[in-house]
Symmetry: C2
C-alpha cells in the first residue's frame, strides 16, 4: 500500500480523517507508523496529499490531512478483456488499476469457460476491492470504470462502435502479422482475448468494427504478461 | 499449454515419442486430442515442430515427431530480481520464461523478508517446473538460466561487473528521474527491487557498477506488472 485511500465516511471534519479496519492494520503492521508520522493519502476519486497521524491505538487512527495535488493522469485506454478464470480475473483487475487504464470491459468470448461467469469475484464489491488494491499500489485515487458484457456479438456490433469512436482500435492476436505499435499518440481501445485467443469469427467482428489485429511477436503471452506488455508498448 | 515439451526420456526411437502423466492429461482434457491429431511439440533445449498422435489411451500416448525449426530467440536479457514473496516468485519465474529472458538472478535485498528464503519454491525442481509452464505457454524450448544469490553486496561488487559486461545496465527505481528507454539495441541487464524498492545504499552499489536508475512514470508498479512493462519497453 503506497497510498492510503480515504473514503467519504472517513472524513470527520475539515482536514481530519479517521481510519479503522484493514487499512489501519496495514499502517500498523507494514508501515509501523505512529503518531507524528506522515503517510501518503488520497481521497477516492479526488486529490492526493499527506496525512499526519495525530492519534493511533489498535482500533482507530486519526490524521490531519492535506490534499494538495492531483492523482496521476489515467491512460486514455479502454481494455476489452475476455473474462479470464477467476484467480486471474482478480489479479488482472488490480493490474489494470495499477497500470492506469481508464475503462475495463469484461466480455464473453467463445473460448471463455461458461463457469467463469459464476464467480463471486465479478460482484460489485469484489471488483471494487481489487481495483482499490491496485490504486493503493500505484498511488492513484481514480477508479477505472468497469463494464460487464456477457454477450460478445451484441456488444461488438451495437455498443463498441460508439465506445471506441476516435480511438486507435487494436486487437491482441498472436497470429497477426502486424506488430503492436509503440508510443502511440491519442486514445486506444485494446481487445485482449481469452486463453487460446479469439476465434476467427470474433476477430472478423472486431475487424468490421475497425480493430486491427496486432501481435507482440513469436511468443504466446498469457493474459497476465500480455496486458502489461501491450500497455507498456502503447504508452 | 501451447507447446508440448518433450524430455530426452520421452524419445523411444527415431522420430517417436511416448508421453504420460500431466502432459498427457492436458492433451486429453484441454486439447481433447486423439489419434491422427497434430500437436505443437519441442525438445527441451532443442528444436520445435509437430507431433502426430498415433496411439493414445488414458495412460500413455505415442507420437510421430518432426522437429524442423528453431525455437524463438531468447531476449538478450538478464533480470536481477529481488526475491519476491513465494506466490509471486512462482508467477514471476513462469512470466520470465514466457517473456523470453535468457537469465534470471534471484538476489537478496534489504526489503526482502528473510522468511522468503525458506520457501520450497526455490528448490531446483520447483523452479524448473515454473519455467516449464512458461515455456509451454510461450512456445519455447530453451530454459533460462537461474542463479540464486543470497548476499546482495558480494553479488553486486564481485560478480555483477562481469555478468553485466557490455550490456545496458538499468535499475528499475520509481523515484528515478530518467525514463526507462524504449526499443534498445543490444543486451540489457535489468535490476528490479522488492516491494518498497531498493534502499539508497543498494541503488548506490548498483550505480557504482554502472547501473542507471530508471522509472516507468508516476505510478508505482508491483513486480508482476513492472517486469513485463519494462521488458516490453526495452525490446
Amino acid at each position: 500500500m503506497n497510498l492510503l485511500l480515504l473514503l467519504p465516511e472517513d472524513i470527520i471534519g475539515p482536514s481530519r480523517a479517521r481510519i479503522a479496519g484493514r487499512r489501519l492494520q496495514h499502517v500498523i503492521s507494514v508501515h509501523q507508523a505512529g503518531p507524528g508520522d506522515i503517510l501518503s493519502v488520497g481521497m477516492v476519486n479526488g486529490r492526493m496529499g499527506t496525512g499526519r497521524i495525530t492519534d493511533l491505538d489498535g482500533a482507530v487512527m486519526e490524521m490531519d490531512v492535506v490534499l494538495d495535488r492531483d492523482p496521476p493522469e489515467k491512460l486514455p485506454l479502454t481494455v476489452i478483456l475476455a473474462l479470464p478464470r477467476p484467480k486471474v480475473l482478480r489479479r488482472m483487475l488490480s493490474s489494470l488499476a495499477v497500470l492506469g487504464a481508464r475503462r475495463i470491459v469484461l466480455v464473453n468470448s467463445a473460448r471463455v469457460e461458461k463457469s467463469y461467469w459464476q464467480t463471486p469475484f465479478l460482484g460489485e464489491d469484489a471488483v471494487r476491492r481489487q481495483l482499490l488494491l491496485g490504486l493503493e499500489q500505484a498511488r492513484d485515487t481514480a477508479f477505472p470504470e468497469v463494464l460487464i458484457r456477457k454477450l460478445f456479438r451484441p456488444f461488438v456490433e451495437d455498443e463498441l462502435p460508439d465506445l471506441s469512436r476516435d480511438t486507435i482500435r487494436l486487437a491482441a492476436h498472436p497470429p497477426a502479422t502486424a506488430a503492436c505499435p509503440r508510443a502511440v499518440r491519442g486514445p486506444v481501445t485494446l481487445a485482449v482475448g481469452p486463453e487460446g485467443g479469439f476465434i476467427p469469427f470474433e476477430i472478423e467482428l472486431l475487424r468490421v468494427c475497425g480493430f486491427e489485429p496486432v501481435s507482440l511477436g513469436a511468443r504466446i503471452l498469457n493474459v497476465e504478461t500480455a496486458v502489461p506488455s501491450l500497455i507498456a508498448r502503447l504508452f
